[in-house]
Symmetry: C2
Subunit: 374 residues, 2 copies
C-alpha cells in the first residue's frame, strides 16, 4: 500500500524461493509464517488480530502465561527460576544485569570470547564497578575458548558473565563454565537450539530475534534468589524485581513478539524439542564446515572444539573475491551472507528455522563458486 518507490536494490527481489542466513532478525519456519498469516485478520475468533488486543485483556494475559509455561517445559526451567519477557533486547540486559545485581564498587567478572562479551563488559564499566576479565581470548583473535574449570574468578564477584555462543566470531561453549558466583549467560543465539543447564545459572537472557521468533522482546530467566536487589536508579522497564512482581506486564510488552514466540515454541515442541534441535543443528553445521575444510579456497579460523553450530564465519584465500561471492549468492537467493563489519568475510547463521535444504543449497553454491573461481 506504500506509495514510496522502492529502490529495489536487493538482487534477490522477485525470486520465488530465498534462504535467509541473517544472524538476526533471522529466518522463521514456513509453518510459523503461515500461522501468522492465517491468524489475520482474526486471532482465535476474536475478530481482531492478536497485535491489536489489550495486554490487560484476559486473552493476552492467558497467552503470556501459556508462553511462560511452554518456555519452562522446553528448557526444563526449575521452579527456583522466574521467567520475564521484557523489551530492549540483549543490549538492554548489558545494563540491566549490573543495575539489578550489583552495588557501586562491586566486582564483576567477564569471560571474553567475542564481540558481545566485550560490549557487555564495556557497558558494565559505566556502573561504577570493578570489571574483571578472568579470560580474554582477544590474543587468539577470539578463535578459541578458555578452559571451563579452574578459572581465576574472584569468589567475591557479583557474577560471572559469559556468552555461550558468540554470533560474530562463531565460537560456542558446549557446557557452562564452572564457578561459585552467579553465572550470567547472554544466550540470544544459543537458546532453544540445545539443552541447557538452567539451574546452573543466575541469569540467562536472550533476545527473541534469533531462535525465538521476531525482534522486540527479550526473555530473562532469573534465579528468584537474585530478585530484590535492583539499584534505585534502575529504569523500571529493566527492573527484574518490579517486572517479576507485575508478571512482565508493568508496561505494554511487544505483544506481537510474545505471540510469535508462542508459535515458535509449538513448532520446536512438534519437532521433538531442544534435543532434536541440537541434532539438527549439529548436522546442518557439519555440512558447512565440511565444505569449508575440504578446500584451501575457504577458511574458518575457529579452533575445532570451539566452533559454533549456529554462526559460521568464513573467509576466502583471496578476499578480493568477497564482493563477487556475496553478489552471486544473493542472485542465487542466498541472503545475508556478509560477515559482520567488524570481521569481514562471510557468515552463515543456521538457527533452528533454517531448513536443511537451505544449507544444502548454500553448500552447493560454496562448492560451485570455488570450481568457477578457484
Amino acid at each position: 500500500m506504500s506509495k514510496t518507490r522502492w529502490s529495489g536494490r536487493s538482487p534477490w527481489q522477485n525470486r520465488s524461493v530465498t534462504y535467509n542466513f541473517s544472524s538476526g532478525p533471522a529466518t522463521l519456519p514456513d509453518a510459523v509464517i503461515a500461522a501468522i498469516r492465517n491468524d489475520l485478520p482474526s486471532w482465535r475468533g476474536t475478530g481482531q488480530p492478536l497485535m491489536t488486543l489489550s495486554h490487560r485483556g484476559a486473552d493476552f494475559i492467558e497467552l503470556m502465561a501459556v508462553v511462560k509455561a511452554k518456555l519452562r517445559q522446553a528448557l526444563a526451567i526449575p521452579d527456583s527460576h522466574d521467567i520475564l519477557i521484557l523489551q530492549g533486547g540483549g543490549m538492554g540486559q548489558f545494563a540491566a544485569v549490573p543495575l539489578n545485581l550489583t552495588h557501586p564498587g562491586d566486582k564483576v567478572s567477564f569471560l571474553l570470547t567475542g564481540n558481545w562479551g566485550v560490549q557487555a563488559a564495556k557497558e558494565a564499566g559505566n556502573y561504577q564497578l570493578c570489571v574483571d576479565r578472568p579470560a580474554d581470548q582477544q590474543s587468539g583473535n577470539y578463535t578459541t575458548l578458555p578452559p571451563l574449570e579452574n578459572l581465576a574468578i574472584d569468589p567475591a564477584s557479583a557474577y560471572l558473565h559469559y556468552v555461550p555462543n558468540e554470533t560474530i566470531q562463531g565460537v560456542e561453549f558446549s557446557t557452562p563454565p564452572v564457578t561459585v558466583v552467579p553465572l550470567v549467560a547472554d544466550a540470544s543465539s544459543q537458546i532453544l537450539s540445545r539443552p541447557m543447564d538452567v539451574g546452573a545459572h543466575g541469569v540467562i537472557f536472550a533476545g527473541t530475534q534469533k531462535n525465538l521468533g521476531v525482534a522486540g522482546a527479550v526473555v530473562v530467566i532469573i534465579d528468584r534468589a537474585l530478585l530484590g536487589r535492583a539499584r534505585l536508579e534502575t529504569p523500571s522497564i529493566l527492573d527484574y524485581t518490579k517486572m517479576s512482581q507485575a508478571d512482565s506486564l508493568l508496561n505494554t510488552p511487544t505483544t506481537f513478539a510474545v505471540y510469535v514466540l508462542d508459535l515458535m515454541l509449538d513448532w520446536v515442541a512438534r519437532l521433538g524439542g531442544v534435543e532434536a534441535m541440537a541434532v539438527e543443528s549439529r548436522a546442518k553445521a557439519d555440512l558447512v564446515y565440511a565444505a569449508i575444510d575440504a578446500s584451501d579456497f575457504y577458511r574458518n579460523p575457529v579452533e575445532q572444539s570451539a566452533r559454533s553450530t549456529k554462526n559460521i564465519p568464513f573467509t576466502m584465500a583471496d578476499p578480493s573475491l568477497d564482493r563477487q561471492f556475496l553478489a552471486e549468492a544473493e542472485a542465487a537467493g542466498l541472503m545475508f551472507l556478509e560477515g559482520h563489519r567488524s570481521v569481514g568475510g562471510m557468515r552463515a547463521s543456521l538457527y533452528n528455522a533454517m531448513p536443511q535444504v537451505g544449507v544444502v543449497t548454500l553448500v552447493d553454491f560454496i562448492k560451485d563458486f570455488e570450481r568457477r573461481n578457484g
Copy 2:
C-alpha cells in the same frame, strides 16, 4: 497451529465484526491489517517477510530512513530536531528523559494532569533530582487542566514534563504550556491525531501502540541541542546521543513495529494527514460525549474544555450496572470498554484507526442500554 486448548473466555469470540476500544495496544485500520497479511510470506518481492530481514541489510535501513522522512513530513518536524525509534515504550522514556537531560542535583518540573504524569514524576525521583510540581490537578481528581501561561516554573529547571493527553483520566491539552525551559511531552496517545508544534518542544516521545501501529517501538523527537548530555550510567538502549549517532540502529530494533508504523503513516497521509485526523477525531468524540451528556444515566466528569478526543472515560449513576454493561457490550462485539483499574467505570478509546461506524455502534449500544436499564 497451537495445540493448547484456549479457554475461549472472551464472549466476543467467533463474531464476524468487532470494534476494539482498547487504549493500547489499539485497533488498526482494516487496510493496514490487509497490507500486513498481503506482505506475507514475501515483502516487496524479497521472498521473505519483513520481520525476518536483517536490520543491517539495505532494505531495512532504507525502510527506517523512509519512516523517519514520513514522520518528519506528517508532523512537520523541523530540521533542528532528530527522530529516534527506540524500544521500551513510554515507560522507558520516564527513565531516559532524566538520564539524558539532567545531572544529579538538578531540578525538573512536572505538570500533573493524570496517571502517566504522576508515574513519570515518580520515576524521575529515582535519579537524585529535585522534582518540582508547578501544577498538580489531583485535588480536582484530574478532571481539569492548569492554566497554560504564567505557571510557576523555575527557569533553572532542566525541563518541564507534561502529558498532552492523559489516557486514563481523559484530559487533553489543546496547545502546549508556555515555558522558557525545554518542554518534554509524553505524546503516546495524542501523536498523529492533530497538528503539533514540534519546534516548541525539547523532547516528544510516543509509544507506537496507540496511533502509530503496534506495540514494541517508541518514537523520540528531540531537539539536537539537547544531545550530548547523557549521564555515563544511561543504558545504551536509552541513550539519545548514542542512538542518534547510530541512526537508531545501535542494537536490533523492533523491525515489525517500524514496518507497521510505515503502513500507518501511509494510511494517515492518504486520508489527509494530521489535519484530517483532527477533524475526524473531534467528530467521533462529539458523538460519544453527546450521548453521555444527553442523560443523567451516564456521566463524564471532565471539565468541558479539558475533555480528550482520544480517551473518553464514563461512569453510570448506578455503578452496580458496570459488569452488565461491559458483558453486554462484549457480546455485541464492542471490545475493551472497561475503565482503567485505577478509576473504574468504562472508557472508550477513539484513536485514528477507530472507524466512525464503530463509534456509531457504540453510541447506539450506550443509548439502548440506558433504555433497557434506565
